[in-house]
Each structure stands twice: as C-alpha cells, then as structure tokens.
C-alpha cells in the first residue's frame, strides 16, 4: 500500500480505503521490519486501531474527519503525550508520563491523524546519528550498517521504511533535515515561532522547532497546514498579526516565476564529491526551469558551528537543570543526602553526550567566561542572521547541500564529538537565523545512499519554500525510490 499522506487521506476521505485498514497495514509493516530498523520506542496499536475505527464510522456517516483523516502518523519521543511515556530516549525520562499533550499532538488529533507511535532519537535530541539514544538502536533503512542521522533518526527511518504516513521531528541544528537527507525523505524545519513548542521537551529553546518528515513535498505542505499557527501557551509562537499562517498546500503545484536561487561560494567546497555533484545537477534542474542562479557571499556562515555549540549548550544547561530526581524522572538509588539526589541521579540518568553538552553550556555561562563565549556567540549569531537578511534581498532562496556527506557508519564519529558537530555545518545556520529550511532527496552516492538538497527561505516563507522544493520534485523522481529493506 502506498501510504503517503495526501493520497491516503484523499482515499480515506473518499471512502476508497478504510482508516483502520491503513493503520493495520502500517502495523503489519512495523511488525515485519521495525525489529531490524528500530524506529519506534513505543507504539499504540490498540488505541490507534480503535481510534481509526471511530474515524471510519464518522466518515461513513458523511461527517468531516479532518484534513489528516485517518492517516497513521508517528511523532518523535520528545513531544508530550498523555498516552505512553515521553522518554526523550533517556533513562532519565524512561518512565515519565506527561499529564498533557503537546500542542502539535492536539492539532494532529483534531485534524483526524491517528498517532501510531513515538520514535527513537538521540537522547534529548542531542546528536546527529541517533546513536545517543539510551533506549534503542535505529539503523538506516538504505543500509543497516549506517546511521539514520539524527536526532530525529527514528522519525526519518520510519517514513523511509513506510512505517507511517508522515512523522514529526524536531530540529535544533539540523535534526529534521539531516536524518531526512540520510534516509532519502523530505524534512522541513519551519521558521522559528511558526509551530508551537508547547509540549516539546526543550533542548535549545531559541533554536528548537517542530516540523514534518514526509515522503514528498506535498505531504510536508499538508502537515504544515495542520501544525502551524499561534499558540497562546507558547510565548515564542508568532501571532497571526505579525505573520499570518499561509495555506501551504493551495498552490503547491504552481511553479514560482522569475525564481532567483542563491548559491554560496563559502559552501561550494567541503562536501563529498558525490554530494557536490548531485547538488550541481540539482542547480541545472532549476536552471532548466528558468531559475536564475546568483552567487551570494555569506561570510559568517562558517562560524555557525562555533556559535551553535555555545548557544545551544548554554540553553540546554538551563533546560536540563530540571531533571534532578526530585519532582519526576530518574532518581538514583544510593542516595545519602539531598545533594546526592541531584548529582547521582543526573550522573545515572544522562548519557555521555548530554553530560558533555551540559558541561559545555554551564562553562560558557559561568562567571569569567560568559563574555568570551556566550555573549560573543550571540553577537556572531547576529552577524549570521545579517548574512541571511542581506541574501534574501537578492534572492528567493539559498541552495546548499543538507550535509557534507551521506549517512556514515555506526561508531565512525562517536569518539570525536567535534567531528560529529562539524557534520552539522550546513544545517545549523538556518536555526541560528530562525529561517525555514527544507531537505529534499536529490540523488544517491556510489553506495546507493541518499543525498539531500537544502533550500532556505526568508522567515515565514514556508509556502513559497515548499513550492520551490516541489518544482524540483516534480521534475525528478529521487523521492519515489524506496529503500531495499521494504
């Protein structure tokens, strides 16, 4: 069964397929393949089937079932749900049961989505390979020797392997786009402030954004129509007056005329040969459609990784302070005094990467180092944002690779955190500048691993960004290829 979101939704809404059938089919695939892939930390088969049957009934009586009408959707395990645990793939929250649903979860449910499970990730979304999950190993459906990318590796692998119609991920420095690229699917990081973060377990609060991971661009547009919009519970979600929500789906198949795409000389080198080749070919595709390619200097982008690993870790050191074994979460056993509750519970509850980042962030904020690291990083962040503002005066979008490489092997970068961090070089800038960015499949390397093309657009320009991405997709069929595992 072709389970892409838009088509399935149309079929279910029209009564051609029952939601319950679609959901059951997806669970068949999960039962068949997920023991090999490891996408899901938890699934809700009974609840999902019951909900889909209810929905089928609603549809059969002619009632509107919402714009996701009965489609099986997966969410990353850092979004709070009243059903199941919300673990963030951490020992710390393994048994944490949120007393509320994240706003995006509420929006999915009211749009008729069937939430089928919660996907694996790097612990607290810290990582680029999902190897930092304390609970589960996820492999790349294209090559089980390779990582799926991260931190939303479970969501990307599940979409690639047909184990859901679409999934939600979260992206702090590339955590939606990089795994989407590694798994050959579409991943969109919306503008900061476009999608509510309420109920998203925070990593870097000024950078985090929830977005869709889908089989194609149209599905990403559909998902955006569901999750975008102001939320009074999130002070950082932008109000309707400042930035009205656009219908991303309405004109998705209409190409943009006089399209101006920028390439960045600073990012012309550095990527693997196969990746660069695919990007160059993608540029040719756009040219053939009449797009004008302009070269724009963005001299500060090369500082993105440095800025990111100060800003994100500083915020994380604050955000993760609450996991202390007092009010919820893991508490160590061998406690002698109340200081132990903190130090031992956190030592046992957090994995190494999380500890490393808490340490780095704490250091960057501590007295004597604040100005040199944290404050300096905020200033350079402003310069990076300036690069984008200037660029968008002259172009509609910026085109660069999503990642310098395709999916790498397990363990390859685990011993060298800096090397791992540097692999985020192309995705981080969009988070620092708050602009929307999408990764779409644009080819394969010599090992048949997918390559991702990244497009970045001005703030709150998701509708246009998706149309530009759809233009490429309509002329290519990279997105139609499925991994050999299914």
């Amino acid at each position: 069964m072709d389970c892409n979101c838009k088509k399935l939704r149309d079929d279910i809404a029209a009564g051609r397929i029952k939601s319950a059938e679609a959901v059951e089919a997806v669970f068949d695939t999960i039962e068949k393949n997920d023991s090999k892939i490891g996408s899901y930390i938890s699934t809700f088969k009974e609840q999902a089937i019951a909900n889909s049957k209810q929905l089928d009934e609603k549809i059969s009586t002619g009632k509107s079932a919402g714009i996701l009408a009965g489609t099986p959707i997966a969410i990353k395990d850092n979004m709070c749900t009243t059903f199941g645990a919300t673990s963030c793939a951490s020992k710390m929250l393994e048994n944490f049961h949120a007393p509320y649903n994240a706003t995006v979860v509420e929006k999915l449910i009211s749009a008729g989505a069937i939430i089928i499970g919660k996907t694996n990730m790097d612990e607290f979304a810290m990582g680029s390979s999902t190897e930092n999950s304390a609970l589960l190993k996820t492999v790349n459906p294209w090559n089980t020797q390779c990582v799926p990318g991260g931190s939303s590796g479970g969501s990307a692998a599940a979409v690639a392997a047909g184990m859901c119609s679409a999934a939600l991920g979260s992206d702090t420095g590339g955590s939606i786009r990089q795994p989407a690229s590694f798994c050959g699917v579409v991943g969109l990081k919306p503008t900061y402030g476009r999608v509510s973060r309420f109920g998203l377990v925070a990593f870097g609060s000024s950078l985090d954004q929830i977005g869709p991971i889908t089989q194609n661009v149209t599905d990403a547009a559909l998902m955006m129509n569901v999750i975008a919009g102001h939320d009074p519970a999130d002070s950082t979600s932008v109000d309707e007056k400042t930035a009205p929500v656009c219908d991303c789906l309405e004109k998705i198949d209409e190409p943009i005329g006089n399209l101006k795409i920028a390439v960045v000389p600073q990012f012309n080198t550095g990527a693997d040969g196969d990746v660069q080749k695919a990007i160059n070919e993608a540029i040719e595709v756009y040219k053939k459609m009449g797009a004008e390619i302009v070269e724009i200097d963005m001299p500060h982008l090369e500082y993105s990784v440095a800025v990111y690993y100060i800003v994100a870790t500083a915020e994380a050191s604050g955000n993760l302070a609450r996991y202390d074994g007092v009010h919820y979460g893991h508490r160590a056993e061998d406690i002698e005094n109340y200081i132990d509750v903190y130090c031992k519970s956190r030592a046992a509850g957090f994995g190494k990467e999380v500890k490393r980042r808490i340490m780095l962030g704490t250091y960057a904020l501590s007295s004597g180092y604040y100005d040199a690291y944290y404050l300096k990083a905020l200033k350079v962040r402003n310069l990076i944002r300036g690069d984008f503002l200037r660029a968008f005066e002259k172009c509609d979008c910026v085109l660069i690779p999503t990642c310098p490489t395709t999916a790498f092997k397990f363990g390859e970068k685990m011993d060298d955190p800096l090397k791992m961090y540097l692999s985020d070089v192309y995705t981080i800038a969009a988070n620092l500048a708050g602009v929307p960015a999408i990764s779409i499949p644009c080819g394969f390397d010599g090992n048949d691993l997918p390559i991702g093309l990244q497009l970045m657009a001005p703030a709150f320009g998701e509708d246009k960004l998706l149309r530009i991405a759809r233009m490429f997709e309509s002329k290519t069929d990279w997105h139609k290829r499925r991994p050999p595992i299914i």
């Binding site: 309420f198 377990v201 002070s235 007092v326 919820y328």
Partner: protein, 486 residues
Amino acid sequence: MENLEYKIIVGLEIHVQLLTKSKMFCSCAISFGERANSRVCPVCVGMPGSLPVMNKKAVELSALAGMALNCKIAKFTKWDRKSYYYPDLPKNYQISQYDLPLAAAGFIEIPLENGQTKTIRITRAHLEEDAGKNLHTTGNFSQVDLNRAGTPLLEIVTEPDLSSAAEVRSLAVELQRIVRYLGVSEADMQKGHMRFEPNVNLHITKDGKEYKTPIAEIKNLNSFRAIERSVDYEVQRQLDEFSRTGITMETGNKTTRGWDDDAGKTVLQREKEEANDYRYFPDPDLVPVEFTDSWLAEIRAGLCEMPIKRQLRFVNEYDLSDYDAGVLTAERTTADFFEEAVKSGGQSKRVCNLLTQVGLKMANEANCSAAELGITAENLAKLAKMADGGQISATAAKTIMEKMTQTADEPKVIAEQLNLIQKNDTAELEVIVEKILAENAKAVEDVKSGGKKSKAAKGFLLGQVMQKTKGRANPKVVAEILERKL
C-alpha cells in the same frame, strides 16, 4: 567594653508578593494554606515541555509600584534565568530580571521620629517568580510543597541609606502603606506577602581610622517589630564582635543570619566565601516586555497621592494630630472615607475621633476596612454633626455608630429609636436640678464651703442629674445651671 564611635549602614532587599489572581507564568490560582501541591500545573512544576506565559497584571502592578517609588520604568525589559539547585525551585532556575530591571533609580520618603522625612534611594525593582516551600520534618527527610512556586514577586533593592533600626522599620511601614494604597499587594507580613532582608554593617571609627564590619544579611523577619529588634541586635553583635576580634569587611566574609524571634537574636546560617555563580542568561522561552507611552500612561492612571504626603496634608488641612493623621492614612479606603465624610459636612476632628475610636475598632473585629462597615460617608457626617451640636453625647454617638453598621437608617432616626437625643431644654433641666439640690443638702453645703470637697460634690450633683435623666441630659447645660444655682 570600649566606647566606639560608629555609624549604622543598612540597605534592604524586599520581596513583595503582587496581588494577582493567578501565578506569574501560569494560570494556577495564588494560594495560601491550601492542600499541599494542589495549586500546581506542568508549568509551575517545570515539567518537560512546559512553557511560561507572562501575567499582564503582574507586569502592570510592578510598573505601578515602580512609579510610586519614583523609579524610571524601562522602555525595554527582558527575562533572565538565575540558576541554582534547590528542591523548592522546580526548574532549578528562577525566572527573574538581571541586567535590565523593570524599574530603577528611584526613592522613597520615610517619616522620622522627629516629624521630618528622609529620602532613601531605591536601586532597582524587578519582577520574578517565587519558589515553593521546603518543609523540614522531624524525620531524616524534607517535604516539598510547590503551591507557592511561580507566585509573582517584586524584588525591591534599596541603597544602604538607612542608619538606624527605627528607620528600617519606618521604611517597612511606609512601603506597606504604599503598596496597599495602590492595590499592588496585600502586604501581610505574617503571610509572607512582604519579606524584608536587611543588609547590616557598621562603619566604626577607632584611633582616627575607619573600619567596616562584614555585612550580615538577616532573614526570617515576619513582623515590623522583628525587623527593628533584629537590626538593633545585629548592631550590638557586630560591635561586640569587632571589639573582640577586630574582623572587618576585608578580613571577614559576608554572612547570612536568621532571626530567632523567641531568643531575640540572629543566628548564623551560612558564610558566603565566594559569590554564587548564578549563570544568568536571557530566558529563551519568553519575549521581551516593551512599554509604550500609552501603556505607561494607562498604568500611571492607577497612581494616587502617596500616604506620607496625604498624612502631612491631613495635619495641615484638617488640623489633626500627626498621630491621628497617620492612623487615618494607613489605609487608602479609610483615608478616602474620612475625606468624604468631611466633605459631606462632618467636622474633621469629630469625624476623625469617630473613625479612630469607634470605626477602626469595629473594622478590626469584622476583619474589614472602616469604609466597608456599611456606613455611608454622608451618615457618618450627620452623626458627627449631631455629636458636635450636642444633640447626642459621645457615648451615644458610639452606640449609634455601632447600630449604623446594621441598618441604613439615618443616625437621627436611630438616636430617636434608642431614645438617645440629649435634653437641652434649660427650663426642664432647671426643674430637675432644683429637685436634686433640694434632695442633697449636704452636697450643696460642701460645694458652698469651697476647698477640696467642693469639686467632688459638684461632680456628685451632676451625676445625680444625669442619673435622673437616664443619661440624656446634655452635661454641658446641666453644669451651667448648677454653676448658676450654687
């Protein structure tokens, strides 16, 4: 002990709980004395994924208090996280304001014992959230109640301009009056609505050199009396300590001392060897507050004449004693009520006496303000006029005023009902006096003989007349008649 010349230096840190219905960053109701952990939600427990949203009223009340304290209100202010680990602080950071406080550079005028006033500079005033409460049980564990966590607090910091315990107390009383006037806080010290932490040290002159004693911060003060006593105690203690050890600010550490009210002394809590590293940084979950001119004007409309000015005006305008003016202006509603009654024709001193001697006592018993007793200002004025005109006695006025809280009847009607109208008819009273004089020849003789006995005998005769008239004779008139007849 040697006689040292010294100056007392005190600065205050004050926390004022704002009078809002809901907490600072969530919609939980403000509580006092409810079941433990019942007034809490994911936000104030700092659960994963929860986000703060500012309470508009709290921001406005803070700005109003800032204006009343003659501060500059920041056009742009923001939120910062103050990090420290403590079980009553659920996120292990407090949302506060660091480098851009809401209000700064103001002053407060306080009354001195000699009738003059003194200006104490206000360094800054900023808004923050309160912590919960740790309860120390008799067992080997502590309990944590988070009902108070997230309650809005205004922290006010003064310059070290106070130079005696009496001044510290005066500032506390004055500040309470101000915040109550403005409706900024209930300011009940017993309930912890207002918490004062004096920072005390001495500048001692010895052998022509000046020595500064280490600063002690005093905590746990929950009455004005405790504030004054603790500062007095601390001054003596520091003098003693300096005489004994010679320790100064340079050689000793800043300490925190707790006030033990029963023992009447301060007790060392902890010694601060190094400044805490709070790692302040901008809270990425909140957006800045920007005050527009129109918003500030709207808030400013809530200002009123400050109590100290009003007290002075009452002395001059209504010819009251400073003490009475102080009592009347302690609460805004009482002062308003007084002025209204005077405007309605009541003689100011008479109205003052009725209010201070009768009204406030009843209000205290009924646990409300004098203005809420159910007596209208017009009726109070009428009552005052009756008492002034001799239609009723002072005792009768009290009885009538008590009755007025239960009925809307005019005082005259009540006086007639209770038969409390005084006999002013000279002819009628003369008959009675004649009769009494005839019946008490011995007393008449005593009066006429002059000397010691004369005065007592006069009083006796007056008493007899009053008894005869069941207290309804105007004693002034009776005294005149007696004088004439004897």
